[in-house]
């Protein structure tokens, strides 16, 4: 049966009305949020309130917090863009995958890592690399109890491979005399990763590998940044809500929501605050995961963030992106300035689509199309035949393939 569009259209229209109402509702909260934002200029007051929620009585605060002194920046402040360094090297890595398919002739998964190296400040051909890895052994495809690994595990393994590749490139370039410092390494996503042991096979090993890559990146001297892009995060809105509560009302029950600011996102808030090129204060997210990074890995590895308006002109609509940085970068003002300027330059390369060019190209290098997947399947079939095996798709998939095939339309005779 095909998708009955006449039934879906009505639902899509209702969805549009719902989103419109939610947007208007958030707009009403914006003035209140801006008022609170403008009042959040006393760093000592903010710090005192953060100390309160970090005390033993409260555990549910997941909002933003300033960095520790002397690196703390005023919450209501904005950072103007600085001049970019004369020369720099930008390394971006991204990954793509073919998930294991129980109905294919042989069980496997494939991860393709794309890397792109851009030399800022010189007219030089960027470098590009791809590294495909095929996984087909039982140890790669099953957990310790013999159950097949799920897609979340493949995603987690791909993420770790991305960071490993980024660290390897950073070390390789560090020793290359033709490469200019600073080396900016860009990861397509947030840096605060959580590998849940209930969903992900070998979660602890993956977490250890991820952290080792972070350590390697730090030791290489690279400036690491994660680029989750536009997010629905409410870290700063949560902080404004916290600051609005009377001290005796600061408890888990009141921190479960953002109160009268509920529904408003940080990107919506900062789209009213940041002019083109400006950034927010550098802050951290108050969470058990981040605390874990700080206590188990070291203070340099707590993950901080700032928001950046990557739009190009003052009259252009704001494009707010969140940039994640580890604390070894956050506590280095020159590195933050260089990162801000270079991300703005990268975003400017693509004109209307404000996204780092190097990440776009790394994604292009990594992407596996459905045609390429079909070719890989064909190669596997040939290889199986060469080894005396008869590859056959499952009856289920073959039957579905028949029904899903291109359908002929009824035509009227002329």
């Amino acid at each position: 049966m095909s998708l009955e569009f006449n039934q879906v259209v009505d639902q899509v229209q209702r969805m549009g009305r719902y989103l419109g109402t939610r947007w208007s509702s958030a707009a009403g909260k914006l003035d209140l949020a801006l008022e609170r934002f403008d009042a959040a200029c006393d760093l000592a007051l903010v710090q005192a309130r953060i100390d309160m929620v970090r005390g033993s009585g409260v555990s549910g605060y997941r909002g933003a917090a300033p960095l520790s002194a002397p690196y703390a920046e005023i919450v209501c402040g904005v950072g103007e863009p600085s001049a970019a360094p004369e020369r720099a090297t930008i390394v971006a890595v991204d990954g793509s995958q073919i998930y294991p398919d129980a109905h294919s002739p042989a069980l496997y998964y494939l991860v393709n890592i794309g890397a792109f190296i851009y030399h800022y400040g010189e007219t030089r051909l960027p470098r590009q690399h791809t590294t495909p890895e095929l996984y087909y052994t039982e140890s790669a495809l099953e957990d310790k109890d013999g159950r097949p690994v799920n897609n979340q595990t493949v995603n987690a393994r791909r993420t770790v491979m991305e960071l490993k590749a980024l660290a390897a490139r950073a070390w390789e370039l560090r020793d290359d005399p033709s490469v200019a410092a600073p080396i900016i390494t860009l990861h397509d996503g947030g840096l605060l990763k959580f590998f849940g042991a209930t969903e992900i096979t070998d979660a602890r090993t993956l977490e250890k590998d991820y952290w080792e890559s972070l350590e390697k990146l730090r030791e290489s001297g690279a400036v690491l940044a994660g680029y989750p892009g536009a997010q629905r995060a409410t870290y700063v809105v949560s902080l404004l809500h916290l600051l609005s509560l009377p001290p005796d009302q600061v408890n888990d029950a009141n921190l479960k929501t953002n109160g009268d600011l509920e529904g408003l996102s940080d990107t919506r808030l900062y789209s009213e605050i940041l002019n083109a090129g400006q950034r927010s204060a550098v802050m951290v997210q108050n969470s058990p995961q981040n605390y874990d990074y700080k206590t188990r890995l070291g203070v340099d590895y707590e993950i901080a963030f700032f928001y950046l308006n990557v739009s190009g002109e003052l009259n252009e609509s704001p494009r707010i992106a969140r940039i994640d940085i580890p604390m070894w970068v956050a506590t280095n003002p020159a590195a933050v300035d260089a990162l801000q300027a270079l991300i703005l330059h990268q975003c400017a390369i693509q004109g209307r689509k404000r996204y780092p060019y190097a990440l776009t190209r790394a994604d292009e290098m990594a992407y596996i199309s459905s045609t390429e997947k079909a070719q890989i399947d064909q190669l596997i079939r040939v290889s199986m035949l060469e080894n005396g095996l008869m590859p056959e798709e499952s009856e289920k998939l073959q039957t579905k393939g028949l029904a899903r095939g291109a359908r002929r339309q009824h035509r009227l005779q002329r």
Partner: protein
């Protein structure tokens, strides 16, 4: 000034072995060949004489004229164009790394079998991926010694036939010395006058295009 510049660039193409691309799709009436954007040079000129082998022994060749050169865009290229200024490294990246595909369309106007030139369609099309080359100066001189190929060009559909024929004749004329060039173009004009006597406006247009 125009003469000397064109003569130089054309010679450069030949010096570089004149590789144009490789066959993508073909028929007896013509073929399309492809190459990378970074390889596009003087070998890829509207109206150039090209040849492609029809067999492995290279005894039979199709001879054609380049009548269209296409460079497709993609969404990323469209965004780069919209930027305030095109970044030099991104430009290099687009041309060298992203392998912008260039397609060159060729109409067949003759063939060469065991060194003998025929002004008729080749007996069969070239195979996919066969290398397409520019004709040598000697081959162009020999091919244009007779003008029977005019009819194939002028009657070709979906080809800017008047402009194509004029460009090809200009190319062929540059392979001759000054006297030979004038004689060649006058001879071409007479041939055209005979063939287009029923369409004086078209004749005047083509004659204007090949005026020495």
């Amino acid at each position: 000034m125009r003469d000397s510049m064109m003569a130089t660039t054309y010679a450069n193409g030949v010096n570089g072995r004149g590789a144009v691309g490789r066959v993508l799709r073909a028929s007896t009436t013509g073929f399309d060949c492809g190459t990378r954007g970074s390889r596009i040079d003087e070998a890829h000129t509207f109206g150039s004489f090209v040849k492609v082998a029809l067999d492995d022994a290279h005894t039979a060749w199709a001879i054609g004229l380049i009548y269209a050169i296409r460079i497709d865009d993609d969404p990323l290229a469209r965004e780069l164009v919209m930027a305030a200024g095109v970044d030099n490294s991104a430009l290099l990246d687009q041309r060298e790394n992203r392998m912008v595909p260039v397609e060159i369309c060729v109409i067949n106007i003759g063939c060469m079998v065991n060194g003998t030139i025929y002004h008729s369609l080749p007996p069969r099309p070239p195979m996919s991926l066969t290398e397409v080359e520019l004709c040598t100066d000697d081959e162009i001189l020999r091919f244009t010694d007779k003008l029977d190929f005019f009819r194939l060009v002028l009657s070709a559909r979906e080809v800017p036939s008047d402009e194509l024929l004029a460009a090809a004749l200009q190319h062929a004329s540059w392979k001759r010395d000054m006297d030979g060039r004038n004689r060649f173009l006058v001879k071409c004009g007479r041939q055209l006058a005979g063939m287009l006597s029923h369409d004086l406006a078209r004749l005047a247009h083509v004659l204007e295009l090949i005026r020495p």
